[in-house]
Symmetry: C2
C-alpha cells in the first residue's frame, strides 16, 4: 500500500510542476468543464448518492447545483485574477542611505493538496466539493481520499473530474482518487513529504488525528479540518413574544434538515426562564412532531446518535420535551430536550455535539447566566441571535460574545444552509475547525492553498503576468500603497 | 512562577476585551507614541544595546530608525483601515429557491499574542519589533518574553511602550514584559489557554520546540517562528565575467554584516565549475581579508559558530579558502570555504546554517547539478540570482526552482537588509519558518494576528464601522464582487 500511495503523491507533485503555471483563464475552463461533466452524469449520480446516503434524490438536485455553482464561481474568481493579492512597491533610487529596491509579491500555489470529504455532503463537501474546487482554482493538484460511506458516488464524480482533466489536456495527475476503508491510508498520505496541505470535513476525533499527523511531520503542513459544532442559538424575549410560531417552525426544519446531519445544525438553544420560552418550547415540540423521521447516513452515525441521546436524556436534570419513537433500521427520531443552566454548566457531556436531529434548550436564570453558558461553549462555526430590534438595543453587549464564540453570526435565520458567497466564513475557533483564520466555504477558501512569494528587483520579463509593469491581466493591485488596476510607469 | 504567568495572561485577556475595539485612528496615535517614546530614550538606548550585543552604536541608529519606522507604518496602515479586507455581499430577495442573505465579513484580532524576540536584532525584531508592532496594530495585546541576551535594552524599550500605553490611556495590560532565563517560561506562556498566537525569531531548535508546544495544546494556536536559513546565492557565468569585483565586494559586506548574525546571511553560494568562478572566489577571499573581525553577540552564539566551523572545515573535501585567524574573546573570524557538489550532496551536515560570518561556495559540474544542489537545500527565507540579462535568458527555467525554494527572490543584490515594504515576504518554506503562508516583516505581518468574522443579516447599526452601509471609514471593500470605497444603497 505504501508504495502505491508514494506513487500517488509523486505523480501529484509532477502534475504540480506544470499545473501551478496554468493561467486563470484555463483553470476557469477546467472548473467549468468539471461542473459540466458532473451535470452530464445525469440522474444516475443523484440516484447513486441517494442510495448510498439514505437521503432523498431531491436533496441531491440542490446539492449538485451548489457543487457545480461553486466550481464555476471559483473559475470566475481565478479568471478575474485579483485573488492573488498582488502588491508592488517600486524602486526609489534616491532613498537614503540606500536606494529602496523594487519589491513585488503575490500568492502562488503551495503544492499537492489532500482532501478528505464528508460523509454528509457526498457532492458539495466531498470529491468535487469546496476543498477540491478551491485547491484546483489555486493551482494545486488534488488527491481525494474517497469517503467509504459513498464509494460509488465518489467514483462517479472522480470520473467526471478526470474526464475534464483529459478534455482540458491538463497533466493527467492534476486529480487523483484514492479508495479504501483503512484509516492508515489517510495517515500515510498526510505524512507524505510531498503533501503540502490537507482539507478535511468530519468528526473532531478524525480531524484532530489528521492535524496531529501533520504537525508531527519533519516539515509541518497546514490542516484545515472542519469538525462541526453545536451552533448555539440565543432566543431573546421580545422576539419570542412576537414571532414564536414562525421561529419554532423554522427551527424544527433546521434541526431535522438532512436528518440533522449538518455541521451547522442548531444543537443548543439558550433562553432566559420565562413563560414565552416555555411557550416557544412547546411550539417547537409540536412542529417537530409534525415532521417524519428519516434514515441516517450509515450505521456508525446512527449508533453514535443513539448513544449520544442515551448519554444526555438519562442524565439527571435533563427533561425530554419531545422524542418521536420512530422505528426502522437507521431511522433517527427527532428529539428536543431541556435542561436548566445550573445543570448544564456542571456537566461537560451536555456541551458536546450530538450529530443528528437533536436540540437541547438551556434555560438560564438571567442574562448573566446566559452569557456564562454561551461563553462556556467551545469554538463554534456559527451562533445565532433570534432578536427584535428592541432586543438588540437592550442587549448590544451580546455582540462581543458572539464574535468571540463563532466564525459566523446569524441574525433571525437558521444556521443550516451555508451560503456560498464572497463574504462566507465557514470556520471558527477550535474545535469547530483546526484553523480559524480560514474558511472552507465561499470564495476565500482559495486562500488556504497559497503562500506569498516576493520578487526583489526582478526584470520585468521574468515576472509573472500578475506583477508585470503593464498589468496585462488588468487585476487590482496595491501599488505603492494605493489600490489600482493601472499599469506602472 | 506559574501563578505569576497565569496572571500575566489573564491580564492580557482582560486588556483584549477593550483593546480589540480600539479604532485604527487611536491605534495609530498609540504606535506613533511608542516610536516617539523610543526615540526619547536617546543615546542611552543605543549605548545599552551596543554594550549588550558587542555591535557598534552606529548600527543601532539604523536599527532604531527601522523600528520606529515600522511602528509608524503600521499606524498608517490601520488608520487607513482597508487592511481588514472587508467583503460585503448584499441581500438578493428574489433569488430562488430562497432569498440570498446579506453576508459581510472582516478580519478581527485573535487575542493576546506572545512575542519571543531575537538576540541579533534587539530593537527591530524584539521588544518593540515587527511582531509586537503588527500585533498591536491588529488589536491584540502583547506579552513580550524579553531576550536574556539584552535584558537592559529590552527593559528600556518595554518602558517606552508602557509609557505610550499610559499616555494614550489604553488598558494598562495592552503590553506586558516578562523577564527570565528559564525556557520553562516560554513553554508555560505558549501553552496558556488564553494565548492566541506566538511570534518567534531565533534558532530552529527553539522555534520548533515552541511550535510543538502550541500544536500539542488542547486548542492549537498558530506559531510564526522565523528560524533562519542559508539563503543560497546562484552565481551565473556572464555576471561573474562582467561584474566579479563588484559582486565580491558586495557579498564580503553581506557575509560579515552584523558579524554574520543575520537570518538572511548568504551562507551558501552555488556556481558552475569555471575559471570565472575561481576568479570570483579569489576576489571574495581578498575582499573578506580587508574586513576586520568583530565580537559576536554572546558566548553561546560564538561557541556555536566555532563548533559549526570545526564540523565543516575539517570535513573531507571541504577546502578553506579564507580564514582570518582573529583572536580575542568572542571574536568571529570571517571564513570562506569551498566544496565540490558531489561531496556537498552526500553530506547533509554541510547544508546546515552556520550562524556567523561564513559562506560556503559549492562548485557544480554543470547546470543540472546546480539545480540538484539548489533543490536539495531545505526551505529558505531568500534565494539570490547573480545574473545578467543574458544569463537569465539562457536560464529562465531557474525561476521555478527559486520560487519553490524560498519566500523572497533577490536579483543582483545581497539578501541581507530586509526592506520593510508593502510587498515584503520575510518567510519561506520550513525550516526557514513554521508557517510559509505569512511574513514577519512588512505590512502584511499584521495578517498573522487576525481571523475573519462573518455577519449574516446583521442590522446595520450593530455592524462594525468597517461593514456599515455608509462605509464611514471610507475603506476599500469588495462589495458584490467589485472593489470599491463607495457606500452601499
Amino acid at each position: 500500500m505504501i508504495n502505491e500511495l508514494n506513487k500517488v503523491m509523486e505523480q501529484a507533485y509532477e502534475a504540480y510542476l506544470s499545473y501551478r503555471h496554468v493561467s486563470g483563464k484555463v483553470k476557469k475552463v477546467f472548473l467549468n468543464t468539471i461542473a459540466d461533466e458532473i451535470e452530464a452524469l445525469g440522474d444516475v449520480l443523484l440516484e447513486t448518492a441517494s442510495k448510498e446516503t439514505n437521503l432523498p434524490v431531491v436533496r441531491f438536485t440542490g446539492e449538485r447545483a451548489r457543487t457545480c455553482g461553486q466550481l464555476r464561481d471559483f473559475g470566475r474568481l481565478v479568471d478575474e485574477g485579483s485573488w492573488v493579492e498582488a502588491v508592488v512597491d517600486t524602486r526609489i533610487e534616491d532613498r537614503k542611505p540606500a536606494p529602496k529596491p523594487d519589491m513585488r509579491k503575490m500568492a502562488v500555489p503551495v503544492g499537492p493538496v489532500l482532501v478528505f470529504g464528508a460523509s454528509n455532503f457526498p457532492l458539495a463537501y466531498a470529491t468535487a466539493g469546496g476543498d477540491t474546487a478551491s485547491a484546483l482554482a489555486a493551482g494545486c493538484p488534488v488527491v481525494v481520499k474517497g469517503h467509504p460511506a459513498h464509494p460509488e458516488t465518489s467514483r462517479l464524480v472522480a470520473g467526471a473530474i478526470s474526464s475534464a482533466v483529459s478534455k482540458c489536456k491538463l497533466h493527467p495527475f492534476v486529480f487523483q482518487h484514492v479508495e479504501g476503508t483503512s484509516f492508515e491510508i489517510g495517515k500515510i498520505l498526510t505524512q507524505h513529504p510531498l503533501t503540502a496541505g490537507v482539507g478535511f470535513t468530519g468528526s473532531l476525533s478524525g480531524g484532530r488525528a489528521i492535524y496531529d499527523y501533520a504537525a508531527g511531520r519533519e516539515v509541518p503542513i497546514p490542516v484545515f479540518a472542519e469538525m462541526g459544532s453545536t451552533n448555539p442559538v440565543i432566543l431573546l424575549k421580545d422576539a419570542l413574544m412576537h414571532r414564536a410560531p414562525e421561529v419554532a417552525r423554522q427551527f424544527a426544519g433546521s434541526i431535522t434538515m438532512g436528518v440533522g446531519q449538518f455541521c451547522t445544525n442548531p444543537g443548543i438553544m439558550l433562553g432566559i426562564k420565562s413563560s414565552v420560552l416555555n411557550h416557544f418550547t412547546s411550539l417547537l415540540a409540536l412542529e417537530l412532531s409534525m415532521l417524519p423521521a428519516y434514515k441516517m447516513l450509515h450505521k456508525g452515525i446512527h449508533q453514535n446518535y443513539m448513544e449520544g441521546l442515551d448519554k444526555v436524556l438519562y442524565d439527571k436534570g435533563v427533561e425530554t420535551i419531545y422524542h418521536a419513537h420512530a422505528t426502522g433500521s437507521l431511522v433517527a427520531s427527532p428529539v428536543l430536550a431541556r435542561v436548566h443552566a445550573d445543570t448544564f454548566l456542571k456537566n461537560p457531556d451536555l456541551h458536546h455535539e450530538i450529530f443528528g436531529p437533536f436540540s437541547l434548550i438551556v434555560v438560564c436564570n438571567n442574562k448573566q447566566q446566559l452569557i456564562e453558558v454561551w461563553e462556556s461553549l467551545k469554538g463554534q462555526l456559527t451562533t445565532t441571535l433570534i432578536a427584535t430590534a428592541h432586543d438588540l438595543e437592550l442587549h448590544a453587549d451580546l455582540m462581543d460574545i458572539a464574535t468571540t464564540v463563532a466564525g459566523r453570526i446569524v441574525f433571525n435565520a437558521v444556521p443550516t444552509g451555508v451560503e456560498v458567497s464572497n463574504a462566507t466564513v465557514h470556520g471558527g475557533p477550535y474545535p469547530a475547525t483546526t484553523d480559524q483564520r480560514f474558511t472552507s466555504v465561499g470564495m476565500d477558501a482559495v486562500k488556504r492553498w497559497v503562500r506569498p512569494i516576493c520578487y526583489q528587483d526582478c526584470p520585468d520579463e521574468l515576472l509573472p503576468e500578475e506583477l508585470k509593469n503593464s498589468n496585462p491581466l488588468g487585476i487590482l493591485r496595491k501599488v505603492n500603497g494605493e489600490f489600482t488596476r493601472t499599469a506602472i510607469g
